[in-house]
């Protein structure tokens, strides 16, 4: 077990290094840079001084300098917001996104898993219909549409929620629901598929044949197996939800991380872009590791192999 974790950590570090190198390569080779935007309108000597300060004319040196900083967990300056460092931006926006994302994922599990399982167990019926239409809606309506409609109905017409912003508990439900909807859809589908497959297995028939109550067979014998693919999906999904969504943040003016990510990419801001990408990748790796750990705990087949 310890050896597996150590191996995965080394592999994760190697992946992060690759991600760093690739992102750097892409952002440096793409035309345009943050000193050229029309908003800043820098004097030529100021631009030259900035280029010299951050070694932007020597990509090799800049690469090493930034890497050394990152190894000390210092992501360096950002060009878009002159008075901020990347660390300050991350420290301010990551907790917001993480909280919103966690709530959304919890919502996805709490709603999607029972709905998917019920629709598989009951066959045709209201649970199946609701599950299917929710799963379809989550896949077929863009987030910016659901978000705007929720905002219009609950904040403008019914006035039961604030129009936007962040800080109090009342700000949480609308963006959380909007963010959760695609995840709910996917979790419902996965649970449904897993449950349908599990219920068709021989050992379920055996369990039913020996007279166990149906409820016990469904929840104790079939459900743990059906849940495994959902668990696998939840790893990257949690990382994705917790690093913010541009659309949700824009519609509800939530000060999260997704907007920095998109803006940094649009403005070719190397420092901030690399910082956000690395945070995302590190989260993906970390949550995959956690999920695999949970897998070992849940799945008896893996437990015996790991021991």
């Amino acid at each position: 077990m310890m050896r597996m974790i150590a191996r995965r950590l080394v592999l994760g570090a190697a992946t992060l290094a690759c991600v760093y190198a690739l992102t750097f390569l892409m952002v440096v080779s793409a035309p345009g840079n943050p000193l050229q935007t029309s908003e800043r309108n820098l004097a030529p000597e100021v631009a030259a001084a900035l280029r010299a300060r951050y070694d932007m004319d020597h990509n090799g040196r800049y690469f090493v300098q930034l890497l050394l900083g990152i190894l000390r967990l210092d992501f360096g300056p950002t060009f878009q917001y002159p008075d901020w460092t990347c660390n300050q931006i991350l420290a301010q926006s990551l907790p917001v996104s993480a909280m919103l994302g966690l709530v959304a994922i919890l919502l996805a599990v709490v709603v999607g898993v029972p709905l998917g399982a019920m629709s598989a167990v009951r066959g045709r019926g209201w649970a199946s219909g609701l599950g299917l239409s929710l799963a379809l809606a989550g896949v077929c309506v863009p987030t910016f549409v659901t978000g705007s409609c929720l905002l219009l109905v609950f904040a403008v017409f019914l006035r039961v929620a604030p129009v936007g912003g962040w800080g109090t508990l009342a700000h949480l439900p609308l963006p959380a629901v909007t963010l959760a909807l695609p995840f709910v859809a996917y979790v419902t589908r996965l649970t449904r598929a897993g449950m349908t497959e599990a219920l068709s297995q021989d050992y379920i028939r055996t369990a039913l044949a020996k007279g166990l109550p149906r409820r016990q067979v469904v929840w104790k014998h079939a459900f743990p197996v059906a849940f495994l693919p959902v668990l696998t999906y939840l790893g990257p999904a949690t990382a994705q939800a917790m690093t913010g969504s541009f659309v949700v943040e824009k519609v509800f003016s939530v000060p999260g991380m997704g907007q920095h990510f998109v803006n940094a990419a649009l403005n070719r801001d190397p420092g901030l872009l690399i910082a956000t990408v690395l945070v995302f990748s590190a989260m993906v790796i970390a949550f995959n590791l956690i999920v695999d750990g949970v897998h070992v705990c849940v799945d008896p087949r893996l437990r015996s192999r790991a021991a």
């Binding site: 892409m26 549409v145 403008v156």
Partner: protein, 338 residues
């Protein structure tokens, strides 16, 4: 060999039969076909009319779109939506005003008809890009195996770790200049090509995994081993023995990439880096509709019709995709995707 050739048509026949029995897939397919034909027939008109503002020249009845011109005081302009712009209003006679007009008096029917074609074209182009890239990459990895396989699939893993938005944006930035130059400065079309190349180049990763898995499992089939024993090279084996077996599952998976690509195009349009105005796409129209509806002005039709059409298209595409997958590929790719 002749055995495989003899059984494959019947296999596809049963596939077609399974597809036909799937009500959702058939309804979706019929809807898609109807929409594609309708917007295809309307193409000459929609191309001519999608960007005509106010339509003053073409209207005999005096148009009453005055109240949205900038000269009008803002409070009056936002208070009452001009009835001429509403669905079945009279900015233009006939079919053009069935679904209303936007703030500039442009006909929503024509914009939707053209937007549907643009969206479908971008989605199809993106899927084709993903199909070619993913099949080549996955087939190479699966056929050669060993170190090459390890290296190629490691690349896929690392690219999976990168957020796709980053790749789309940077891809778009990197491709814009060379492609616009290559197309002789026709920026409108260059833009569409860049858009589907960018979306396609982030959608091929799963395709590569699916194809690699299929090739790996085919490699140990008897007919492939027999061919190899007779001295056939990897290219021959791939073309002669694997490609016919790959077509079904790959087509099934590709049909599920189409709605994803469409949704991504909508998202990019929301970011403002999708289809460039004045050209419409379903995503662009939906994003504009979101902007057009607020507590002060109720251009509700600008939100409802584009979003409704986009959602229906996606439902239909997903239905057809699922139907195809169940018909052509009952087991193999589902396991790999889970």
């Amino acid at each position: 060999m002749s055995d495989a050739a003899a059984t494959s048509p019947s296999a596809s026949m049963t596939g077609w039969g399974r597809f036909r029995r799937n009500r959702q897939a058939c309804l979706g397919g019929a809807f898609l076909l109807a929409m594609a034909i309708a917007s295809g027939v309307a193409l000459p008109w929609s191309l001519a009319w999608f960007d005509v503002e106010n339509l003053a020249t073409g209207v005999r009845h005096a148009p009453s779109v005055k109240s949205v011109t900038p000269e009008e005081p803002l409070d009056r302009a936002v208070g009452n939506v001009p009835t001429a712009l509403k669905p079945l209003g009279s900015v233009m006679r006939g079919a053009a005003s069935w679904l209303g007009h936007d703030e500039l008096g442009r006909s929503l029917v024509f914009r939707l008809a053209l937007g549907l074609i643009v969206s479908l074209a971008v989605a199809a182009g993106a899927t084709a890009t993903a199909l070619i890239l993913g099949t080549l990459w996955g087939a190479t990895a699966g056929l050669l195996g060993g170190r090459t396989d390890l290296l190629l699939m490691r690349v896929v893993d690392v690219l999976y770790g990168l957020p796709y938005i980053l790749m789309v944006i940077l891809m778009k930035v990197a491709l814009t200049r060379p492609l616009t130059a290559a197309l002789g400065g026709r920026t409108r079309y260059a833009d569409l090509v860049i858009l589907f190349l960018a979306i396609g180049s982030v959608s091929w990763l799963t395709m590569a995994r699916v194809v690699r898995g299929l090739v790996m499992s085919l490699r140990h089939e008897g007919f492939v081993e027999a061919s190899r024993a007779m001295g056939a090279g990897p290219v021959w084996i791939f073309r002669r023995h694997m490609l016919p077996n790959l077509v079904g599952p790959v087509a099934a998976y590709a049909s599920l990439v189409v709605p994803q690509a469409m949704l991504q195009e909508a998202f990019l349009s929301f970011l403002g880096i999708g289809v460039q105005p004045p050209l419409p796409s379903l995503g662009r129209l939906a994003a504009d509709g979101v902007q057009a509806i607020n507590p002060f002005v109720g251009f509700w039709w600008l939100l409802v019709f584009p979003c409704g059409l986009l959602a229906l298209m996606l439902v239909a595409l997903n239905g057809v995709g699922e139907g195809l997958r169940e018909a052509l590929d009952p087991r193999s790719t589902r396991k790999m995707l889970a």
